[in-house]
């Protein structure tokens, strides 16, 4: 009987809220995923964990951009997150560079995604023109 991913995410999220030893937790999760042959589900699992933690006011987001963000940019990002999550007790932003975005920023948040990248604008433009044609 395999535990459903959601239950597992719930368990992991719970543990992250209460324990200090993240190394032990990662070992346990790793062992479990390996044993159950669920390694491929790690990304989805962690997305679920992030979502559950957000409900507890612990918001963790990823800011993806083509160029290094300035401190001002990051402050803007935090402000946006506060808007989206007014009850957040803690906001954490991870940066990731991705040249494919060309310019602008993509904000991956729990439950949602805000894509203000140049690439997204272009593809939006493309799809609009394609529909017209």
């Amino acid at each position: 009987m395999k535990q459903s991913r959601h239950l597992l995410a719930q368990a992991v999220a719970d543990k992250t809220l209460h324990i200090k030893d993240m190394k032990q937790l990662s070992r346990e999760v790793a062992a479990y995923l390996l044993h159950e042959g669920l390694v491929d589900e790690l990304d989805s699992l962690l997305r679920d964990v992030i979502a559950i933690r957000a409900e507890h006011g612990l918001v963790e987001a990823e800011a993806v951009s083509a160029h290094q963000l300035s401190d001002a940019d990051l402050n803007d990002v935090r402000a946006i997150l506060k808007e989206y999550y007014p009850h957040a007790k803690q906001v954490t932003v991870h940066q990731r560079l991705d040249a494919n975005l060309v310019g602008g920023i993509k904000l991956v948040m729990p439950h949602q995604q805000l894509d203000e990248s140049v690439r997204a604008s272009i593809s939006k433009f493309k799809s609009l023109t394609a529909e017209r044609a």
């Binding site: 009987m1 395999k2 535990q3 992250t16 809220l17 209460h18 324990i19 200090k20 993240m22 190394k23 032990q24 937790l25 990662s26 070992r27 346990e28 999760v29 790793a30 062992a31 479990y32 995923l33 390996l34 044993h35 159950e36 390694v39 790690l42 962690l46 964990v49 992030i50 933690r53 507890h56 612990l58 963790e60 990823e62 803690q90 954490t92 991870h94």
Partner: protein, 519 residues
């Protein structure tokens, strides 16, 4: 309330998990460490030992410096249930558990003979460490069909009723079954004593499961007094021991017995008793939340005893021709042999000796029910001497018990019936045998010959036992050479046979004259 760890980031966690996965993939031995999540009632639940095997030994860190041994009993998806062999209060949740890579083993060998040990082979007799040079697994697979041979050598109990009517052979599994206090243990003890008196060289292993400590102590005292301890191993657990120890005891004893079996020697193992063993297993299983079945026993309780009793076999000549004979004991409730555990064990064994409360209280001891007792394979192992005088014994006795019940309602019996009843009464008297007095082959032969030839038909019932004693005394004193010959087990020739019959008649005659005036 615990504060949320502020610095926790799932991004980091994700990286950690990824590296842990990579690590685990290359270093599988990391799986050999787990964490105790719950503990109690002699059971520990351990998270993370997913590569653990059934019955594998673990060591768990105690609160002090000690390491406590446990063995895996329940293998779950991501946690295992382990049975703690020792003090469970020394273990706290969060303790580290390690796999040892070994399944449970006990010391084996001649060093154990004469000792009283617990199911881990640790001494209980205060005689110091057991310096056995070998150990062996507690759970072992029984020898296959090709490695076995038919049972053909006698394992004499010294109890006339058994050796004559339900003979047991070396390598046989014969169940001793009956209500409480019907003399089950007594038969087992006498059988052990007989191995000593007859110099059979058979090693006895007595496994006490969940009995009162005082009872076990008394039994050991008796074995010592009889000089039997020198060829005996006692594996003792009492009712106050954890269920896990009681559960292990029979398997540990079997392993100690197999040592001799596998070296061309002969051993006898007594499990006293498997009802308590099943109860210990039930308790353990309930603690480990295995789903219960009939009579709240877990579904695999059949396998519990079949895998144990299968280890008692007679080995083939290629395998050294050793043997392990098993006398498991089962306690019934109100004579009910159709309960779950009795039926199971009856179906596994090669026969049973059924003890009846009624007989016991009528003073017919050993209280063996002739009708319900059988030995399915022992016939080939019976000594020729005993066989030659035991042929019709069973039928005669069974008929007698039937007639005796019937005759209670009838005042006037035909002479034939009356004769059968009188013969039966005398047979019954002759088969009564006090404890701790196993008989040699010649004694059994003489008694049975006298009885079946009707030599004692004229002896009053209350004089039968003295007549028997006189017969044995005279034979022993006046014909020691002849009796030695009978004792070899070969069927005595007609001359010798006639000689004994004549002496028996002569002795019977002396009681007849005494009796004349009273009748």
């Amino acid at each position: 309330m615990t504060q949320p760890a502020i610095d926790v980031s799932i991004k980091e966690l994700s990286d950690d998990i990824r590296s842990a996965i990579a690590e685990l993939k290359v270093r599988p031995e990391i799986e050999s460490t787990g964490v105790v999540t719950r503990i109690g009632d002699g059971v520990a639940w351990i998270y993370g030992l997913t590569s653990c095997g059934y019955n594998e030994m673990l060591t768990i860190e105690g609160t002090g410096d000690e390491h406590i041994t446990a063995f895996a009993f329940n293998l779950g998806e991501d946690e295992i249930g382990a049975v703690i062999l020792g003090d469970d209060t020394a273990i706290k949740a969060g303790a580290t558990a390690r796999l040892t890579g070994k399944v449970l083993e006990v010391p084996v060998g001649p060093e154990l003979v004469g000792r009283v040990v617990n199911p881990l082979g640790q001494p209980l007799d205060g005689k110091g460490a057991i310096k056995a040079s070998e150990t062996d697994r507690v759970e072992k697979v029984a020898p296959g069909v090709l490695d076995r041979k038919g049972v053909h050598e006698p394992l004499m109990t010294g109890i006339t009723a058994i050796d004559a009517m339900v003979p047991i052979g070396r390598g046989q599994r014969e169940l001793l079954i009956g209500d409480r206090q019907t003399g089950k243990t007594a038969i087992a003890v006498d059988t052990m004593i007989n191995q000593h008196r007859q110099n059979t060289g058979v090693i006895n292993i007595y496994v006490a499961v969940g009995q009162k400590l005082s009872k076990v102590a008394r039994l050991i005292e008796r074995l010592k007094r009889e000089g039997v301890m020198d060829q005996t191993i006692v594996v003792a657990t009492s009712a106050s021991d954890p269920a896990s120890m009681q559960y292990l005891a029979p398997y540990a004893g079997a392993t100690m017995g197999e040592y001799f079996r596998d070296r061309g020697q002969h051993a006898l193992i007594i499990y006293d008793d498997l009802s308590k063993h099943a109860a210990a297993y039930r308790q353990m299983s309930l603690l480990l939340r295995r789903p219960p079945g009939r009579e709240a026993f877990p579904g695999d309780v059949f396998y519990l005893h079949s895998r144990l009793l299968e280890r008692a076999v007679k080995l083939s000549d290629e395998k050294g021709a050793g043997s392990l004979t098993a006398l498991p004991i089962i306690e019934t409730q109100a004579g009910d042999i159709s309960a779950y555990i009795p039926t199971n064990v009856i179906s596994i064994t090669d026969g049973q000796i059924f003890m009846e409360t009624n007989l016991f209280y009528q003073g017919i001891r050993p209280a063996i029910s002739v009708g319900l007792s059988v030995s399915r394979v022992g016939g080939n192992a019976q000594t020729k001497a005993v066989k030659s005088v035991a042929k019709s014994l069973r039928i005669n006795l069974a008929q007698f018990r039937e007639l005796a019940a019937f005759s209670q309602f009838s005042t006037d019996l035909d002479p034939e019936t009356r004769h059968r009843i009188e013969r039966g009464q005398r047979l019954t008297e002759l088969l009564k045998q006090p404890q701790y007095t196993p008989y040699s082959v010649w004694q059994m032969y003489a008694i049975l010959l006298a009885a079946t030839e009707g030599c004692f038909d004229t002896v009053p019932l209350d004089k039968i036992k003295t007549a028997e004693a006189n017969l044995l005394r005279e034979l022993k004193h006046d014909h020691p050479k002849d009796m030695e010959k009978v004792n070899t087990g070969d069927e005595p020739d007609d001359k010798l046979r006639e000689k004994i019959v004549k002496i028996a008649h002569k002795i019977a005659e002396s009681y007849r004259s005494e009796d004349k005036e009273t009748k």
